[in-house]
């Protein structure tokens, strides 16, 4: 098996936030999250990524900054994939200026999430406030190593979704990705947070109507994983031939390796395979696959 060009490595399932909309699959399928690979295993996977010509890797979790050996892994990645685009996705709770500088020195991009403004505490399951995230975005921008921001819109923060976008843009986010809460992971236990299609379209229209401040933004339109909830059918294949609906890149251009080392073709598929349109094979545990 050859790794796809775009890879996401979920380094840990541990997280210090308790976001009610978290899509991470180990909330449904704990075997994906443990036992976690150690740094040597991840180095082997990175060697495979280098050999297969992977072009970009996103390191995520859980919360990646909870891994004490994170920079051991990142340094190895930078050495072996000198031209690849490397990024980390963090909830910013442990991010600070020295870390931003360390990431910048290794040419590792940073992405974070802004889960709310007044609702930040409720949306993260903590007592934290949004202030620190915005200040970090501003500081990173001053250091000329800007942060990409993701925001998940739920029924609870719907009223301030446009303000979340504006706050991120004003603070100097390099780009903003907004999406509605998806029905997977922990979010399955919180159907009250799900948006209707009309509500989500309203958010998109409101963001598009804002003054152009030069911050690129995009929308993630999935409400649910079509492969999981609506197995590939003639209807889906017809839809994917529609130029307005690009085929899902899962398994072909995109792949995920979970904390326990299992390859998945998609962030939202538990394991694999038969139900994925573009990759019909069982998913091997990478450490046993060498």
């Amino acid at each position: 098996m050859r790794f796809p060009r775009h890879m996401t490595l979920e380094l840990t399932a541990k997280c210090n936030f308790r976001c009610p909309y978290c899509y991470c699959l180990w909330h449904e399928f704990p075997a994906i999250g443990k036992p976690e690979l150690d740094a040597d295993d991840w180095k082997k996977i990175l060697d495979r990524c280098a050999a297969d010509g992977v072009e970009d890797i996103l390191f995520t979790g859980g919360e990646v900054l909870l891994r004490p050996d994170l920079f051991t892994i990142l340094s190895h990645a930078r050495r072996r994939l000198s031209r690849a685009e490397l990024s980390v996705f963090t909830n910013a709770s442990r991010l600070d200026e020295p870390l931003i500088i360390r990431f910048k020195r290794r040419r590792i991009r940073i992405a974070t999430s802004l889960q709310g403004l007044a609702t930040y505490g409720a949306m993260t399951g903590t007592r934290r406030k949004f202030h620190r995230v915005l200040a970090l975005i501003a500081r990173a921008s001053e250091l000329k190593w800007p942060i990409a921001v993701s925001m998940t819109v739920t029924k609870a923060n719907l009223h301030e979704a446009v303000d979340m976008f504006a706050a991120a843009a004003l603070s100097g986010a390099s780009s903003v990705l907004a999406g509605p809460v998806m029905a997977s992971g922990r979010a399955l236990a919180h159907p009250e947070l799900m948006l209707s299609r009309e509500e989500w379209n309203g958010v998109k229209d409101a963001i598009r109507a804002l003054p152009n401040v030069g911050v690129p933004f995009s929308f993630c339109d999935e409400f649910y994983c079509e492969c999981r909830h609506d197995q590939p059918s003639a209807r889906l294949r017809r839809k994917w031939r529609d130029p307005n609906h690009a085929p899902c890149p899962a398994g072909r251009d995109f792949g995920v390796i979970g904390p326990a080392g299992h390859f998945r073709p998609c962030l939202h598929l538990p394991e694999s395979a038969e139900i994925c349109y573009t990759m019909r094979r069982s998913s091997p545990r990478i450490t046993n696959y060498e």
Partner: protein, 93 residues
């Protein structure tokens, strides 16, 4: 966290807007010019340097330093509050 003056003012403007129940997106249009990048005399002139924030593109308003500070108050209460609280005013001549 140590931030530049304009970014501190911007963060304060956002917090104030939220605390007052006002729209943060309202800051995008024009009030930000005064809150974050005014030259300090109360006008909305933008000191263009190597300011990395792409918002600066939006803020090339004018360069009339003689513009009175009262003009700027109409562009947004939250931002105007920030201006008066964080930036020393030039004494009137």
């Amino acid at each position: 966290m140590k931030l530049s003056r304009k970014n501190r003012a911007c963060q304060t403007a956002i917090r104030k807007a939220i605390a007052c129940g006002k729209s943060v997106s309202g800051l995008l249009a024009g009030a930000l010019a005064i809150a974050t990048t005014g030259c300090g005399c109360g006008c909305s002139r933008v000191p263009m340097g190597d300011y990395p924030n792409p918002n600066a593109r939006e803020l090339e308003v004018d360069n009339q330093c003689e513009k009175s500070s009262s003009d700027s108050k109409s562009t947004g209460d939250a931002a105007a509050d920030v201006k008066t609280s964080t930036r020393p005013q030039k004494p009137e001549k």
